[in-house]
């Protein structure tokens, strides 16, 4: 339990808040083939 608290509380100390955050979201082969049954 103590360990858990230490671990949980350690992370924010180690990480500086990034200046910028963004995401690239993607899709691929939305009409892709699937193996026909059989």
């Amino acid at each position: 339990m103590i360990g858990l608290i230490v671990t949980q509380s350690y992370v924010p100390l180690a990480r500086a808040a990034p200046k910028t955050q963004f995401s690239i979201v993607y899709t691929n082969d939305v009409m892709g083939e699937v193996e026909p049954c059989g």
Binding site: A14, S23, Y26, T27, D29, M31, P36, C37, G38
Partner: protein, 461 residues
């Protein structure tokens, strides 16, 4: 994510219009309806760029250019060019700015499709994707912080691309023969692709602390691993200290371990501090059906498509002439050139299995979609009948020949023509065979052992 105000670039790696060329007028009309729905949906969720896939050109360049007129996002392709002028047909790339970061996005087609393409469009040619990508990435580098390739090159060529073009930061893959998901790095360049058919959304999260140009990115798993390791070291240190305190006397072994742990802890802390101001990325694949709510506007479009699509197909009512025939007569009606011989033929030697199979959902798999708008949809027919795509191109459930209705023996064991003589049947049904239809999205509760038990047609002979 966009609604919640997150900074997001939404991209597609291509082949969004067709699975295969529609063979009949009805299928063509259906495809047009579906394409309208897709473009409206992509507009609605604000895609930023879509790569041109070779299947997007199946109905010709003019058709695709007409489709692009309806799209609010650009179709891009860096290596599809006019044969005479060698000029690109679509924009080779786009540059988007997000959170102050300039992202260059280019699209690539596989030049192995040149011969197929030139049969349809002799005025077009696909240039070597690797050299084109090198030229473009080099020219983008001074203006962009991040260069993303939307690729239709397939898994192997994506790796080659990563090895031979070090100006790229990210390859998002598609196309090729392989249908598996990919998440790997070649050199330092990450390559990601998802399982086909739109069941997943891929997301690459970037967090940037050091904006000094050029910006470098590290995969976050290294930092995450160090943090976990540090956590474990701290826990063990606390435990050892507690054990020493509890014993109330010196313990040489524990003291040694404590010293070791403390030195390791310092080392990991030092490594973590060195990563403090670095930039990171992290990839996750999000299952769409489980994690993302349906958008009411898009769902309305889907319902509209389904009802319009269903109207296109005039079902031939189920009065199958095979009903009332003897087994012998039914077997006689199975075409001699058919790879599939139907469960009724299997029954001759495997009667117990056949009777067990009749009681299963597999046997009724075609009937279960008769009453739904799905009865005419290819992606449904594919798994609700036997040998779809190999035995004719039936458009509705009603058109499925009797010996291919339902999920019959040959779906799992392979086509029976020639068996038991030359034809080799797969005795054991593998998980891979089941997964052709019981995908994570279509069959989220699928369990191989439990479902195999449910099929109930265990081999007795």
């Amino acid at each position: 994510m966009k609604k919640e105000g997150a900074e997001v670039l939404l991209l597609d790696t291509g082949n969004i219009l067709f699975r295969k060329l529609p063979q009949t007028e009805t299928k063509k009309k259906d495809a047009l309806l579906r394409i309208d729905l897709l473009i409206q949906s992509y507009n609605e969720i604000r895609y930023e760029a879509v790569n041109v896939g070779e299947k997007d050109l199946m109905m010709g360049l003019k058709f695709l250019l007409d489709v692009t007129q309806k799209a609010k996002f650009p179709f891009i392709s860096a290596n599809l060019v006019d044969k005479k002028t060698q000029k690109v047909i679509f924009r080779s790339h786009v540059i988007k700015e997000i959170s102050g970061i300039k992202v260059g996005i280019l699209g690539l087609l596989d030049d192995q499709f040149n011969s197929a393409l030139q049969e349809r469009e002799p005025g077009l040619v696909i240039q070597d994707p690797i050299s084109v990508s090198r030229d473009i990435a080099r020219s983008l580098r001074p203006h962009c912080d991040l260069i993303v390739v939307l690729s239709q090159l397939g898994e192997m060529k994506d790796k080659r691309l990563a090895r031979e073009n070090r100006d790229i930061h990210l390859i998002l893959g598609g196309g090729g023969e392989s249908m598996r998901a990919v998440a790997e790095r070649v050199g330092e360049i990450p390559i990601y692709r998802l399982e086909p058919r739109g069941g997943y959304l891929g997301r690459v999260d970037y967090s940037i602390s050091d904006t000094k140009r050029p910006i470098h990115f590290l995969i976050s798993s290294e930092r995450d691993e160090l943090e976990k390791r540090l956590g474990r070291l701290i826990i063990r240190t606390i435990q050892i200290k507690a054990e020493i305190a509890k014993a109330g006397r010196p313990d040489e072994m524990k003291a040694k371990e404590l010293k070791f742990l403390e030195s390791k802890q310092k080392e990991v802390e030092k490594n973590l501090m060195a990563l403090q101001d670095k930039n990171f990325y992290k990839h996750i694949a999000i299952p769409v059906q489980l994690s993302i709510e349906d958008d009411p506007k898009i769902m309305k479009g889907v319902e509209h498509y389904r009802s319009e699509s269903a109207k296109l197909y005039k079902p031939k009512m189920a009065g199958l002439p095979e009903k009332g025939l003897s087994e012998k007569e039914m077997i006689a009606r199975i075409p001699q050139d058919s790879l599939f011989v139907g469960a009724i033929t299997c029954k001759k030697c495997h009667e117990v299995n056949y009777r067990n199979w009749l009681k299963t959902k597999h046997a009724k798999a075609s009937q279960t979609i008769v009453a739904s708008p799905k009865y005419a949809q290819e992606e449904c027919l594919m798994c609700h009948s036997t040998g779809y795509g190999k035995m004719g191109d039936y458009a509705t459930v009603e058109e499925i020949p009797f010996y291919l209705q339902g999920v019959q023996c040959e779906t799992c064991h392979g086509p029976g023509r020639g068996h038991p003589g030359k034809g080799r049947m797969e005795r054991k049904v593998t998980l891979g065979a089941c997964r052709n239809c019981h995908t994570k999205d279509q069959s989220p509760t699928f369990n191989y052992v439990a479902y195999l038990e449910k099929i109930g047609c265990k081999i007795t002979k």
